[in-house]
Symmetry: C2
């Protein structure tokens, strides 16, 4: 067989595998969105029920602000990016969710602190002394502005962003956490990661805001990179303010799925900056390293938490397999491959995607299970709860569909047989 013919056959095989995954991912996205559209809309008060049992039944009507805002964001993003989701029901539900947030999320307006959870009719139940409710609120408002063009949403987003940046970089006292003499001045990776994703959200196709937040984006990236510790051999969730390892369990704490998520946030940053060195570093430290240390060699899947010294974590759920680290890993590896052409990353995408579709999907009632035992058995049958809503699964599926489409387009415009070889990509079976 001639070299040209084999190369053509390899490319054809790759094209077929990518195409098959694109279809699989797209169909899954349709089913997942249908699940939330059918079961989660609160027609009476606006906003969404997110405590949904296996079959979609509402088992609690509390409204977690993270999940309200994420669902608004997700609906708007789908509406904006994918033609087949551009229908009024999605937009109307997103707007109703946005209005619910505008009216009720803030605990004591005009103060900007948002509740963590509200009653069905919007009364605050709990407040967290962190920035995350406010961050998801900002994402929701910015995306609502993008689909509706209504300036009040964007004003809300930009004002809240200013408040968040003030809390993080200037004065956290408004969050209400007491400063205790024994508590180390530590940084959770979640904070600069979250801010980095807001910089991307607000700066998309908006030169002015992108410029305003350029320094902040660099600062966030640098702070996330500080979490690579031990001469590049570990990503640690918590480090000191000046980027050193902290003592004890807090310092050794690792969350492989979170590192992978930070990885794709940083890959986007590297793309915006046009920085191939950063990209290579990120692939090495935030994609390959957490995968190799975090993937369970016995049962497959990513551990939820680990200890950097290999000691037993103190979190009861450390060995469980959660849906979201796997969604983030799918995005990270496919993005890493798209950006670098390294076939090892496509191999890992296939491996993680096969595991994820096999273990988490619920073909009977739709959506994914969220929580499996170490061995991969369903441990919680719920489809939504205090921390699982309409977000990680559809975000992963929509992004993978888009990236798979772009890869297929690139292949379609690749040189004909006989021309110089594109990066060799193993087929899907070989990835198992």
């Amino acid at each position: 067989m001639s070299g040209g013919l084999r190369m053509w056959q390899d490319m054809e095989k790759e094209r077929e595998t990518l195409q098959a995954w694109k279809e699989r991912v797209g169909q899954e996205l349709d089913q997942v969105v249908a699940f939330w559209m059918e079961h989660s809309h609160d027609q009476e008060h606006g906003g969404f029920f997110t405590c949904l049992g296996r079959d979609g039944q509402v088992y609690d009507d509390l409204k977690y602000v993270w999940l309200q805002a994420r669902q608004v964001w997700m609906y708007c993003r789908l509406y904006r990016k994918l033609e087949r989701f551009r229908h009024p029901e999605l937009l109307d539900s997103a707007k109703a969710g946005g209005e619910f947030l505008l009216r009720y999320a803030r605990v004591a307006p005009p103060g900007k602190k948002c509740a963590f959870v509200l009653t069905r009719d919007g009364r605050p139940v709990k407040v967290q002394r962190t920035i995350f409710s406010e961050c998801f609120y900002t994402m929701a408002m910015n995306e609502l502005w993008r689909v509706t063009g209504e300036v009040r949403y964007q004003s809300e987003a930009v004002e809240m962003m200013d408040q968040i940046v003030h809390w993080v970089r200037e004065d956290p006292s408004g969050l209400g956490r007491p400063q205790l003499p024994g508590a180390p001045a530590s940084e959770s990776m979640a904070v600069p990661m979250m801010l980095l994703s807001l910089v991307e959200q607000l700066g998309e196709a908006d030169e002015e805001l992108a410029g305003n937040y350029a320094e902040l984006g660099d600062w966030c990236a640098q702070r996330v990179l500080q979490h690579v510790q031990r001469d590049g051999r570990a990503v640690l969730e918590n480090v000191s303010e000046d980027g050193k390892e902290l003592s004890g369990c807090l310092g050794r704490h690792q969350n492989p799925g979170h590192a992978l998520e930070a990885g794709w946030f940083l890959l986007r940053h590297a793309t915006r900056k046009g920085d191939p060195e950063l990209r290579a570093h990120v692939i090495d430290k935030f994609l390959l390293l957490p995968f190799h240390s975090g993937w369970d060699p016995d049962h497959g899947g990513l551990f939820y938490f680990q200890d950097a010294d290999g000691l037993c974590p103190t979190q009861l759920e450390w060995a469980m397999k959660l849906w979201w680290p796997h969604s983030e890993a799918m995005i990270a590896f496919l993005m890493g491959y798209s950006d670098s052409g390294d076939p090892a990353l496509l191999h890992l995408f296939y491996l993680v995607a096969e595991y994820t579709f096999r273990q988490f999907r619920d073909p009977e009632f739709g959506e994914w299970f969220g929580y499996l035992s170490r061995e991969g058995k369903v441990a919680l049958t719920i489809k939504g709860g205090p921390f699982k809503g309409c977000f990680h699964v559809p975000r992963c599926l929509a992004m993978c569909e888009e990236m798979l489409g772009a890869l297929l387009s690139r292949l379609a415009s690749a040189p004909a047989p006989g021309a110089p070889s594109p990066p060799a990509v193993p087929d899907r079976k070989g990835a198992e």
Copy 2:
């Protein structure tokens, strides 16, 4: 075989089985105490390391106040109640732990609020907005007074008790929890349970204090009993202030091990009051009911959390088997049998004790594993951590040893063959 002979043989069999368990429990207690004596003492700062790996290695030197105080209490109690533990090392370590608490537990003396966790040298790291650090502090101080006779410990205990009662019954604002309009006015069963155990602690052999707290004890018992809901078919962890079921997951939340622990607290209350009707009610609702709904029919062991409607709980660890519900169940069933003579309760003691010794003990390094998967595999290899210290296991073993001893004494003074029959008790094998 004559009826008298068979009765004599049954009694002899019961005696042997009780005697075997008394020895087993006593030996286990010796090994467990030896584990903490060897690995947990901080000779430099006083107090105890409680983050101990499988072999006793310290993996974190944070000092959780609940566990510091519980270990002080446990050491004093052993010293006071069991002759073979009356040695100076135990007492000296308890006193060093007590001094550590006196010096460092309170966040802002003379304010009484205590930290939840301290650095090794006593600086506060975290404060919980609950009463539990203060309750365990009170237990420790009262027990230290009992073994040393030093009045300053007792003053500390009584003053802290006054503060706790003020927070619970008059004004919780000093705890620092914000009152939010959407948060239901709810009562966690833990609060009146904990106070009831303090009433017993402070009132032991102290007529004046027992008198002072008599009304409080009745109030606590009545509040705990309010958690029996649904026409007596469920014990719910959280109810409204006026004793009604709350909506949603919070209202349906159940914790079988906690109900069993409340059960033996109430049995002691019933004994103090001389109230056989209360005793029968408690055995029915707080011993048999949680056991029958909470025992895993497939793998054995008590579920950690359940939902009263049989829905899936949202806590990731709901199906795990934890050491302490099993320790509490052993105490509850043996006490229920001692108080009532009902052989079904002895049967359940044997069943739970066999499971517990088989699954949680670590014959290689001593002490018990704390956290098993639903199927009974060790999920965390740690022997101590933020919530597991020198408390539930030795308290269970010491109390069971004492109760088994008392049952054996009763049998020894039982009437000779031919006299009226004592309650029939099945043998240990029959309990499996």
